[in-house]
């Protein structure tokens, strides 16, 4: 008897378990005969067997019944797999991208990052700020190298996708994660002082904050001393006191008149430096003015519109600017990429100087340069006549395809759903526009709190990856429109490759290209958002 331990027929009637196991033929012959004999003489048990048997049929029919339509992509025509070329090409371009990434970007910028103060010393800085402030983003965004980061992001999103289907868990996990990070921080960081202005915040002269200081206010005035880092979100920031760590500022205007022993890192509209910076200055700022009375002990790295450097800088200058005017002393090398470079008569540059831009640099007669400026004249528009331009475009296509392939292989359902969502053009574009504008705003608002800071930065990084991914979904949709629905890995990837190639070709058409890129971003982002929303809703209904 196979399941004798589960059955009982000691009582006048056998139980339900015995009846079910008998009907499912789980008993040996002897036991079955006993049950049959009992059922023949017992109307009640016979009735039980009959009803249980009916229940099995009823259950089986309900389970097997084919009511829900099978998704079209699972039953469509499977075409000849011919995407081996696509795989090979993608892997080739991926390898080329990785090689370019390492040799052209990662290695030089790692050295650069180390020079400008992004060391392992401050976990808070490394975790939250290195990524967002990393000066290589501009290059990365502009190049094939973004592929690697986007792919990693996609892998991370995939790894968390089960959690993403449960919004409450996501929120809990994110908050818990941020709290865990906070707990892991070094003691000095964990003990940071947090201030909210009402609406402004002032640290009076003579007062000292003996730890890191985080301030969110309309106007922030630091006349006193901070024995740690100063991290500030404000409309205006003025520092007249002494900050012994770094200043990290998200503000419209930063005016630094005091002394900073560490680095100054600014996201601002305008930054004016009248004081002393012990180490490095890094600014993502529209206008920067370094006064002649000020000094920078380390390097200066700038992503700006207009910059005027009048004060002495001990280290190197690296600037991606529209216009740079140098009138002070530069102790290291100077490398500038932009439209205009002007070296004034009082300028002294001890190291080498290099400029890349469309206009020749102007050097006044009194300027003292250790060596002549190395000039690379570049055209502001794509060089359609050079093979290099097409090579880069091909690499960009390869990168997008590689990302799409990884997405499809890791999460085929989500990938195909997003492609399907892209069919709802109007809805996708509406939602995409909402996300394109709303998400960064939400992330910046989230940054107003300490726990929200991490969430906000993570949100921004996810946003950047999602914006890049958007072309994949639209590309897949375009391919599907042209070749029809594809079933299986090969045909789906072939359609993706074709669609992305078409988008890339449109992208390089003057005037139309940038507009098409914006449309693709809005459209793809909306399709992705629709997919995420749909899955979350379904999960919440089930839960």
């Amino acid at each position: 008897m196979k399941d004798s331990e589960n059955s009982r027929i000691d009582s006048p009637h056998f139980d339900e378990m015995t009846g079910m196991l008998y009907l499912e033929q789980q008993f040996d012959d002897n036991r079955s005969k006993l049950i049959e004999a009992h059922a023949n003489s017992c109307a009640s048990c016979r009735e039980l067997l009959r009803v249980l048997k009916n229940e099995t049929v009823w259950l089986r029919e309900a389970i097997v019944e084919d009511e829900e339509p099978v998704p079209a992509r699972l039953v469509g025509n499977h075409e000849k797999g011919g995407a081996y070329w696509g795989w090979l090409a993608a892997l080739g371009f991926g390898a080329a991208g990785a090689y370019t990434l390492w040799n052209g970007i990662v290695e030089p910028w790692m050295a650069r990052a180390s020079d400008i103060g992004f060391t392992q010393g401050n976990l808070m800085t490394m975790l939250f700020f290195s990524g967002a402030f990393w000066s290589g983003w501009a290059d990365v965004r502009d190049g094939i190298e973004f592929m690697a980061i986007a792919t990693l992001g996609a892998v991370a999103i995939w790894a968390l996708r089960r959690f993403f289907r449960r919004p409450t868990r996501v929120a809990t996990a994110t908050v818990m994660g941020m709290l865990s990070l906070a707990l892991l921080m070094p003691h000095t960081t964990a003990a940071a002082d947090t201030e909210h202005g009402n609406p402004s915040y002032t640290l009076p002269a003579g007062q000292e904050v003996k730890t890191d200081l985080f301030v969110a206010a309309d106007r922030v005035l630091i006349d006193g001393d901070v024995d740690g880092d100063l991290v500030v979100w404000a409309h205006e920031v003025e520092v007249n006191g002494h900050v012994k760590g770094d200043i990290i500022a998200f503000t419209q205007e930063l005016r630094m008149n005091g002394t900073v022993d560490g680095n100054v890192r600014a996201f601002a509209q305008a930054t004016v430096l009248n004081g002393t910076v012990g180490r490095n200055l890094m600014a993502f700022v529209q206008t920067v003015e370094v006064d002649e009375k000020s000094s920078v002990g380390g390097t200066v790295t700038l992503f700006s519109q207009d910059v005027q450097l009048n004060g002495p800088i001990k280290g190197d200058i690296l600037a991606f600017v529209n216009q740079l005017e140098v009138d002070g002393i530069v102790g290291g090398n100077m490398k500038v990429k932009g439209n205009n470079l002007s070296v004034g008569s009082t300028a002294q540059i001890a190291g080498t100087s290099a400029f890349e831009g469309p206009n020749p640099p102007s050097v006044e007669s009194g300027a003292k340069l250790a060596s002549p400026i190395e000039i690379v004249m570049s055209k502001p528009t794509p060089q359609y006549s050079t093979w290099r331009f097409y090579w880069h475009e091909t690499l960009r296509w390869g990168a997008a395809f590689l990302l799409g392939m990884v997405l499809f292989l890791l999460a085929p359902g989500a990938f195909l759903d997003a492609t399907h969502s892209a069919k709802k053009v109007g809805l996708s574009m509406g939602i995409g526009l909402l996300f394109l504008v709303g998400l960064p705003v939400a992330a910046i608002i989230a940054c107003a709190t300490i726990v929200g800071l991490g969430v906000g930065i993570v949100l921004l990084l996810i946003y950047i990856v999602a914006v890049y991914m958007s072309q994949v979904f639209v590309g897949a949709w375009v391919g599907e429109r042209l070749l029809g629905a594809g079933i299986g890995v090969g045909p789906t990837l072939a359609r993706l490759a074709l669609g992305l190639a078409i988008l890339r070709v449109i992208r390089i058409i003057p005037f139309v290209g940038p507009l098409s890129a914006l449309v693709v971003i809005v459209w793809g982002l909306g399709a992705y958002a629709l997919t995420v929303q749909k899955r979350m809703r379904q999960q919440s209904v089930i839960a």
């Binding site: 589960n6 039980l48 009823w58 029919e61 389970i63 009511e67 000849k80 089960r162 079933i487 999960q539």
Partner: protein, 195 residues
């Protein structure tokens, strides 16, 4: 498709013929999707799972023993995959172990069971099925959709064979409770409406 045709098709798939793979996929994907749809809580999960099952099938086709029915092997791959998906999510609400003592062993009222069957459509049963704990739902699907033996169910779900019957009966009880709950709510609502 008879067994000779299937054997030939599988042979072509093994040799890398993508047309053959397409034919195999087209022939079996709908059934596997339906199986996954019953086993998993959402349609999207089922679509994901169907694609992933076929990727596994392609990788594992070399291990298929031609003496066994192909469909059974396919369902076995699918059931393992679905159960893995559910297990990874850690949302199983039922207990890992249980014993027969927790089940009512009295003689149930056949009249009530018949009434329940008569009152509920297949659609309602399927909706009830989706509300079952994962393991209970899997047990019913493996048994009544996949036609798996108790041994196969035990192996897939990682339980003792003797426990399979308990699982199945418990799943039936839970389903009855879900359906009865729905019916009572509906009756109350109707009564409330009349008042």
């Amino acid at each position: 498709m008879n067994s000779t045709e299937l054997a030939e098709l599988l042979s072509r798939v093994r040799s890398g013929d993508s047309d053959a793979w397409g034919e195999l996929y087209r022939g079996y994907a709908p059934a596997i999707f339906r199986f996954c749809r019953r086993a998993l809580p959402s349609r999207e999960d089922a679509e994901d799972a169907t694609n992933e099952v076929f990727m596994k099938v392609r990788q594992k086709l070399g291990t298929y023993d031609a003496s066994r029915p192909f469909t059974a092997w396919l369902y076995k791959v699918a059931s393992n995959h679905c159960w893995d998906m559910l297990r990874r999510r850690r949302i199983r609400q039922d207990l890992e172990t249980g014993d027969i003592e927790t089940l009512p062993l009295e003689h149930p009222d056949p009249g009530q069971l018949e009434l329940l069957q008569a009152e509920h459509t297949s659609k309602e049963v399927r909706a009830g099925l989706e509300k079952l704990p994962d393991r209970a739902r899997m047990a019913l699907v493996l048994r009544y959709f996949g036609d798996m033996s108790y041994d196969e169910i035990a192996e897939t779900l990682g339980v003792r064979r003797a426990f399979v019957g308990v699982l199945l009966l418990r799943a039936r009880h839970q389903l009855r409770e879900i359906l009865q709950g729905g019916a009572e709510s509906a009756r109350e609502a109707t009564a409330g409406g009349k008042l």
